[in-house]
Symmetry: D2
């Protein structure tokens, strides 16, 4: 270890603390009668609690339409990687969220889905002062067994493209309703 | 909104709170004299603070070797998506971290890199009780301008594969040192 | 081997033959004074020969603009995989071609590029009678070291989406011109 | 168009011609009683004709095992792109073929599959004199609805890595056999 490194460690200005909160989600079975878009609109409206990951990282579902979804996320030091910029995993999480919800918004009640593949392109570094990011996704194909979507992350203040990506989701056909007792 | 949904909201057992801590990293310029592997070994040893994202999500760099890196992460409810499982973005973040560090471990002092592309395959759902995840990455190609790596996420308890992925990094050639004053 | 298989082999109606032609390309150094868009427009105009792969598979560069490129390809039995449909590699080749040319169309004379990563989504099977395919690509980011683009393949007759994808290219900075003799 | 370009066009040494052959495949329904591995072993043994794309581009299925597949391909000028090297689409086709067959080799009789996503990393240029390429694939996960695999392309003569990639396949459950007449 070099002298440089020890000197660098001394520049640290103390330990940072961050506290965040979430409301545990009701079991997914509670949404059985709702279409994907209805569930997502209930999250936007605050009628269904946002998922825990949203408060852990700092983002939210802002808009949803048939075949589209928009997330907004705020950058901060809690997202930093060792290189001194926002970790690519945060952008991957925004993209994964928006891509999945764009697909989900086209699924009828009782039809599930799961993300099986995510491809992410990171085109510019993001910093704590980049400010609000907007991630907009569009479903491109929703078939019986497979769905795909594309999304872009842009800065709200500067309008620049920071990341983009695509996904492959497996569409899970509805199961027969359980027999009444 | 249906009666089903209101009933579901009543099942919530109160708001959860989580607090985490990190030490701000010294400026990257402090590591100028160190190779990529030296910087990463200093993080493993605790001589350089882990990045903020590691405490935000709950993972750490566990091992590093020339051309490889291992991260370990603990699952929990704070990582959950609206479907009631760990968000794919957490697995993407583990993969991105391990892939980037496997590449970085082969870079000489003064050579930088940035992740430009990440491809993630999610093959099984992860839950809060899945326990410790291990993400192992190997560099496959480190050239003058481009590097690639592959990684897998397995459960420590069950040995099963949960996710895997690859990356493309841009290798940034060393810049001439600034002239002495 | 089962009786089924032997019966199947007997259904074959004889060996097919296909002949194709190309003009060897001049050395790339011949284009040194031309921008990427100029080279591509010369291929569209027939002033530079189309590359051999275009005749081998059966496709052509149809349009090019600053930041965009369109390829058209004709399907046929020579492209079939063992499953009885057009091989995904053909669609990958169309996408790779269009994505690379969309990036190239924005590069100044003397600046090279190479495709380092290609992500392809195949959303519908393509058959010999699907007819003409159109692959349209747009550059999303062209920086000093990295460029990305997105593309879609649609059927000209039916307007349906068959495949889509994205790319990461390495941008290679211009080299100093060789000294005059 | 510049003088440079016209000079370059004059360097062309005449039109090249290439003829290739294939045997039309029997309808896939002929293989109904065979497992994926049995069909692939029959192709290796020449009992089922190789697909047309194999002769169009110049590659063959060389080995297959439960969960693995190896393709070999010969490079040549007919595969060239406008940059004067083998088109990335050829490498994508080798990877797609090997990845799909590695998955198929684990599927029981009556279970189909289709490739829905392909990710390709190109790490070194390939030329006509690179010689024989070997593409080795391994299935990583084969579930009820989704399968993934990884593959690498290396030079047989030099042992170097030229490309690598992964895939997502949709696994199609067996359909009930048609009733006997």
């Amino acid at each position: 270890m070099t002298t440089d490194l020890r000197a660098a460690a001394r520049t640290a200005d103390g330990i940072r603390t961050r506290t965040h909160h979430w409301t545990p989600a009701p079991p997914a079975a509670s949404y059985t009668g709702l279409s994907g878009e209805q569930v997502l609109r209930a999250i936007v409206a605050g009628e269904i609690p946002a998922p825990p990951i949203a408060s852990t990282l700092g983002f939210r579902l802002a808009e949803v339409g048939p075949g589209s979804a928009v997330f907004e996320g705020t950058t901060g030091e809690h997202l930093y990687n060792p290189l001194g910029s926002v970790h690519g995993g945060y952008l991957a999480t925004l993209l994964d969220s928006a891509l999945g919800c764009a697909v989900m918004s086209l699924l009828p009640a009782g039809t599930g889905y799961t993300t099986t593949q995510l491809n992410v392109h990171l085109v510019r570094p993001v910093f704590a002062d980049t400010g609000l990011l907007r991630c907009e996704a569009l479903a491109l194909h929703v078939g019986r067994t497979v769905a795909t979507a594309e999304a872009r992350v842009t800065g709200v203040a500067d309008g620049r493209l920071y990341a983009h990506g695509t996904t492959t989701c497996a569409v899970l056909p509805p199961r027969p309703a359980p027999a009444a007792p």
